[in-house]
Structure formats: C-alpha cells, structure tokens
Amino acid sequence: MRLLYFFVSLVITIALIICFGSSAWLPLPLGRFLSPQQGIWQNAEPVNQDFSALLQMPQIKDRATVYLDDRLVPHIVANNEEDAYFIQGYLHAKFRLWQMEFQTYAAAGRLSEIVGDVALDYDRGKRRLGMVYAAENMLKELEANPLTKQLTDSYTAGVNAYINSLPESRLPVEYKLLGYTPEHWTTLKTALFVKMMSQTLAGASDDLPMTKARAFFGDKALRVLFPQVADSLDPVIPKGTLFPPPSVLPVAPASADSLYLGRDSLAGMLKEIEKPDPGNGSNNWAVSGAKTQSGAPILCNDPHLTLSLPSIWYEMQMTTPTMNAYGVSFPGAPGVIIGFNDSIAFGFTSSERDVLDYYAVQFKDGSKSQYKFNHEWKKSDIRIEEIKIKDKPSLFDTVAYTVFGPVTYDNSFPEATLPNTPLATRWKAHDASNELLMWYYLDRANNYDDYLNALQYFTCPGHNVAFASKSGDIAIWQQGTFPARWNRQGLYIMPGEDSSYMWQGFIPRDENPHIKNPERGFVSSANQRAADSSYPYFIPGSYDLYRGIAINRKLKAMEGITPEDMMKLQTDNYNVFAETARPLLLKYIPAGKLNENEKKYLDTVANWSLYNNIDLRGPTLFTLWFDNLKKQVWDDEFEKAGVSDLLPSDPTLIEALLRDSAFRYIDNISTPSTETLADVMLASFKKTAANADSLDAQNKLTWGAFKNTTIYHLLKTKLMPFARTGLPIGGGEHVINAMKHDHGPSWRMVVSLEKETTAYIVYPGGQSGNPGSVYYDNFVDKWAAGGYYKAWFMQREENEGEKKLWKMEFVGR
C-alpha cells in the first residue's frame, strides 16, 4: 500500500515537472518561465539599476570608457577605432540583442525556425527575392575593404563578447517566450540588416499590378492614371534649375511598342510577396545661416517608418581620436546612421525611386536549369534554399538565378498550381556594394567635400542626403546608383528572352539631382520627385507630394529661425492635401440633397481648421469622405481589370478632378446611367455620414480616437501588452507630422551648428529593449506630445559632466 502511495506521489511530482517544464500541456513552460532565479523575473530590472561596471575583455586594445546619461544614452570614449566599434557591438547586444537577431532572421527568411510554419510564405518570399544572395554579395565587399573589414570584425566581436557572457537566466524575455537561444553574430547578419533596409526603402514595385492594369486600360490611359510628374510638384531641386544633358542615352528596344507597351495579358495576377509600406519616407531639410537667428545653419530630419518597440533606433555618441559622432545607430550595424559631429550634420529621406524590375523568363523544363535568352538556352544557377521549420522537417526550395537575378515567382511559388510565367527579379540591392563605408566617412566628415566623398559609397537604397556644416554650407544630394531607363522602361514586366530589355547602364553620379547653397537659403526633401520634367532621365518611383509643398512653403516664409521653430515645423499637423481637395469636394456636393444629420457632418468638414489635431472630427470626416470618393471613382474599373493593391494616388485623383470635372473615370461603368461628379460626391458623402454615425456611437470619431496611434512590439498583435496604444499625437498622411496609425516619425532631430553644436532629439521608444525596464518606452510620452530632449554632446576633454550617471569601463587583459 505504501508503495502505491509512493508511486502515485512520485508520478504527480514528475507530471508537475513535465507540465511546468515544457509546452506539452501548457502554452508556456510556466515553471521554467516563472522560476524567480531563471525565468522572466530575472528580466525585471530594478528601477534604480546601477549600470556602472568594470569589464575586463581580452579584445580591448586600450582602456575605454562609456558614460551613460540619465536617458541611458551611451557616450563611448575610446582611444582607437577597434575598441569603439567593439563597444558599440557590445552595447547593441546588451540593450537590444533579441531585436537585432530577430530582424536579421526575418531578413534572411528564417522566421520559421523560431515561430514555425506560419512564417513559411514570408520566408520563401525573402529567399526568392534573393535577400541572402544580396547580403552575401555585400559581405564580399565589406571584407575586401580593410577599413570595413576591421570595423565589422570589431563590431561582431563586441556583440559576441556580450552573447558569450550572457547566462540563460538573463536572456531577453522574448527568447524565453518563444523558447530559443541566440546564435553568434556574424558580419553576414550586419549585411542582412542593411539589405532589410534596402527592401524597406527600395524594394517597392508595382510592376505586377501595373502589367495587369495595362491589359485592361492600355499604356496610354495608364500614363494619365499614373502620371510621372504631378501638376503641383515642388521638387527637391527647385524648378528652373538647369540640368546638364544626359551622358547616358538608353535606347528602347525596337520591339518595345509591340512586345512591351502593347496590351498582351502576360502574367495573371499573382499574390505578391510582402511589399514594403508605401508610406515609408521621411522629411529632412537644412536652412542656411542667413535664415536663422544665430546665423548658424540648422539641419532637421525625421525618418518615417513603421514604429516598433523596441525601436529601430538606438541613440549614442562615439568618440575616438578620428571622430566624435552623435545620433542614432541601427542595432545590427556599426556607426552612427543619422546624426552630427563637431563640424557637420546629416539626415536622410528615401528617394522612392524604382530600382526593382521583373523579367518574364521561359524555362526549358521543370528543372529550371535552362532558360531562353537571346535565342539560346542559357544555364541558370540553381540555389537550393533550406528553410528550417520549428518542430517540422525542413522545406527545400529551388530558386533559379538568371542574368537578371533570382526567379522569384514560378510554378512552385506563391502557389504550386498557378500557371504563371516565371518572373526573375532585377534589383539594384543585389549588386555588390559597401554602404558601411559611406557611414564610416560621413561620421568623420568635416566639410562639404568630405560629405561628397562619403556619398559615393552609397548605392542602394537611394536617398536624399541633406547636409549642413559649421563652415556655413548646406546641400542636398539624391544619392544612389540608379538605372538609366528608356521612357517607360520597368513600369511593367519586361520580356526576359532578349538582352535589349536589360538595364543598359546607370546614371553617372554627378548627374544625380543635387544642389549646394541655393539662393532660397534652404534645402529640403520629403519623398517627392527629386526634379521636375526637365531632368533628362526617366525616373519612375512611388513619390509623395504634399509634405514637400508644406515644408517648402513654410521654410520660404521663415526668417530668423530658431531650433524651437524647427521643432514646431516637424510636429506641424497642417494638411496641405485637404487644403487642395476640400474646396473641390465642397463645390460639387449637392448640399440640398443631404438630410439634417448629414448636413451637420458637412458643416464640420467645411469649418474644419485643416489641422489634423487629435481632438477634431474634421480630419476623420475628410479622410473617410476622400476614401469613399476614391472607391466610387476607381473601384468599378479596377475591379473589372482584376487589379488589387493598386490605385492611382490621391494627388492624381484630385489634380484630375481640378483639371476636368467630367473626368471619364467618374462614371461607374457597371451601371447603365452616366454618373456625374455631383453624383459621386453625394454617394460618397452619404456613405461617410453612415460611417461617421457608427464611429460616433463607439466614441471613435475624433481624429485621435479614429487613428488610435499605436507602437506595436515587433511581434505585433501577438504581444499587445508590450505595445503602446491610443497615443495622443495628431498628424497623418500628407502632413509634415506624418504620424499615421502605426507609421510615422521614428526619430526627430534638430541640429543647430553653432560654435557649440546644440541638438534636440527624441524617438518613440527607449534605449532598452527589455520590456521589464523603465527605459523600454520612457521617451514615448515626450515624443507624442511633440517634446524634445537636448542632446548631451559630450566633448572628450569633459571630465565630469553632470549628466554622467553611470560609467562602464572596458579594460584589456
């Protein structure tokens, strides 16, 4: 009997251990997970944590010190480059390890290893886009250059020094939740991170839906629906600037009119791989000393990205005998990415230029080993991608590489049954390059010539790089290596059997749009087209329009500018698009046909201040109305064309209606009657009023409630308690303060290049990636309220600053 009791008790004990120690019965291994000495409690950082430390590491060549200020921003003081980059890697890992590794798993198409086969399509998309191939090509360049080899080696060693010192109990909480451990960092992962940025900022392509649309509308109509230059464009390079004649003259193939621009129905609509957010963009500008109160130039930048916790940015200062750079870095990459030093400041906005094209290829057989090219069968390189899947056997995916690049879409992807033409991807990001070299030189630049020299290493993603120096220069260059295209090249899928459709060359760098010390006293960019139609190359892209107009209008009018004025401008909620569109909407709405309730809403729109402020209903009603109007105008044609995920832009519609109130697409082609502009205005407004009633019932009609500004954790809706929701910040699309629901200013920076550099900065996050730290999200409220911190730009000789709270000392053996 005793024996029986013993066995029962023993079985219960063992069952408890298995139950709490594995995910067999519970969603999480709660015993391991909650054990105070090993589980998540170890991630609960005391609010008065002391970050001071003495770290002895054999890799350190000389003594180095890191001062951490009250916002946990590190200020590295090192006596040589190797130590500085080693410590940067160490700090990135110490505060952001999970994020930096997760992002590179995502870039490499390896998420299935962590989360299982739910990520399989995502992973296959990344592999088939050639992300790893692109990173490998970059790696070769990084390692071939002694400077970047040294800095990436040091950086990688720093990350790994931290990983090696990390006990399992201190693993970031996300590892514990997902049940895996970090692997060692490599320079390939840094390259993958850079390629991830390339995809985010230069991985957009509408070629597939455009090709589908061409079959229905024809190229001529698409020239109107997707115009290259908007009527109200205020380009990066002011109108009237003379461009030299082009030195590269691309020639359209003789067969282009029939094989390329004709209405064949090549390639049915495919489910495309995940595309970057079309709203990815940014604002930057620099004003010359003539326009500022202090007489010194001011440079400003706010990059707009999908916000996340932990933030994509990590703020820091790095000083060595050859540099003193302050700004934000990418956890995963060495150097300061956006920022300033003792002499200059620099900031980036995406060029939005199209550098990704598709070519239809014809394989000889199912083995994909040969494809037709210039009347011959050409051998393809076969790359077998092993995609490891958590708790399941690996999936092997065969990707053929052609002269263009990887065949992204074929009969096995996205769906094995689709009888589509295989499509090869030609993407600038595949070409070997060494972007890290640009940051190496930029962080150390003293003047315009240094800046110009640094820029040459930046090929993709293309950017507008704003510059200002203490010596008084301001400048902006659209930098990148862009294909020289013949007119309309690359808007649609191109024939892949004929070398004459390939990119014929690149625009020489000095023919990229640029301007130095312009007469108007400022340079600016906000993702609009860099130049008007007088620029001699064909430069398609997914450009913005209104933010640029708003910024330039304000900057033109401003004099005696102070940093505070610039902060106000970065957080300005004025909606220039609504200013353009509202008069038209109000002109054509037949107000007499509205009921009392609808009239009340119309009055709200009519009396709205045009500011996208959170407490107003005007911006919500206007946005809903315009969205409904778009549906009324476009949906009939585009649905009939079988095109999803592609519509003419907001400016295109409004400019077309301003030109011609009888614009042919107003008519709904699925009804026998002919609709007028008044008809669609009325229908769209009635729909809006109905939407508004239901929103009002849920108290979601004010702009703040409607937009519900949210910063998700990187695991998105799977981990809502780690997110911040309902943030009180206005702005939105087409507004300088470009804050949409979860996408917007990811870093705000105002740098006044006075004798002593003063910089005001803020980002929506915190320096620590640990959700159990007070520094996880401590900048968020200040950022949402439009506030800034004054950066502590430490000088090397400064021995005791009042801002130095903690001191990490690194010593060698």
Binding site: T13, F20, A44, M720
Partner: protein, 121 residues
C-alpha cells in the same frame, strides 16, 4: 516542530543555492532529499516542501517585482493570465514552486517509510 522548521528552512536554502547552477526543477530534488533525511509525518513533509517554496519563490518574485515597480509583471501578466494582475503572477509563481516541492517532499517521505522499515532509524 523543530524538525518541521528545520525542513522548511533547509529546503528553501538549498533550493535557492542549487538553482544558481541547476534548472528550476532541482527544487524537487532538494525537497525529496530533505524529507528522506528528516523523518516527519507524511502530511507534514508535504506541507514543509509546499510552504518552503511558497515562501521562497513568492518572496523572491515579490522582492524582484517590487524593486521593478511591477513594470514587467504589468506587461507579462496579461500575456500569461489574460489580465493585468501583477500580484496574481507572483502568487502563481509561488504556487508552482510550492506544489512541485510539496509533492516531491511527500514522495521523499513515502519512500523513506518504505525503505526505512528495512533500515534502522
């Protein structure tokens, strides 16, 4: 009574020490071993193991969370419990340790009574 108090203290102390090096379930080994060594009524052995870890894990979790102003517990409790309840997370932590150690101690005590019959006590 003395034996009970000594058991509780020993289990707690040894569990804390062994968990610096070993996985969380080594608390079961400690509770099992202590109740084999210190003879007590079975139910008292169970309570000793249970109480010991209830106090150790509950105390540690509470202490850590208090110094953290419950920041992590506020974020983790909705993930685990579906609601924002830091104290509940501390209690659950404590009870997981308590039940595991309690049954391990009971098993140790029962084994002692089987083996103990054949050896002089």
């Amino acid at each position: 009574m003395m034996k009970f108090i000594v058991s509780v203290l020993l289990i707690a102390l040894l569990s804390f020490t062994i968990c610096l090096y070993m996985p969380w379930w080594s608390i079961a080994m400690v509770a099992f071993a202590i109740s084999m060594i210190i003879p007590q009524k079975h139910y008292l052995s169970f309570i000793a193991g249970f109480l010991s870890l209830l106090l150790l894990w509950g105390g540690l979790a509470w202490y850590i969370s208090a110094a953290n102003h419950n920041i992590l517990a506020h974020r983790m409790s909705p993930v685990i419990l579906g609601k924002d309840a830091p104290m509940s997370l501390i209690f659950i932590t404590a009870f997981i340790g308590a039940f595991t150690a309690g049954f391990a101690a009971l098993s140790g005590s029962l084994l002692r009574s089987i083996v103990g019959n054949k050896m002089p006590s």
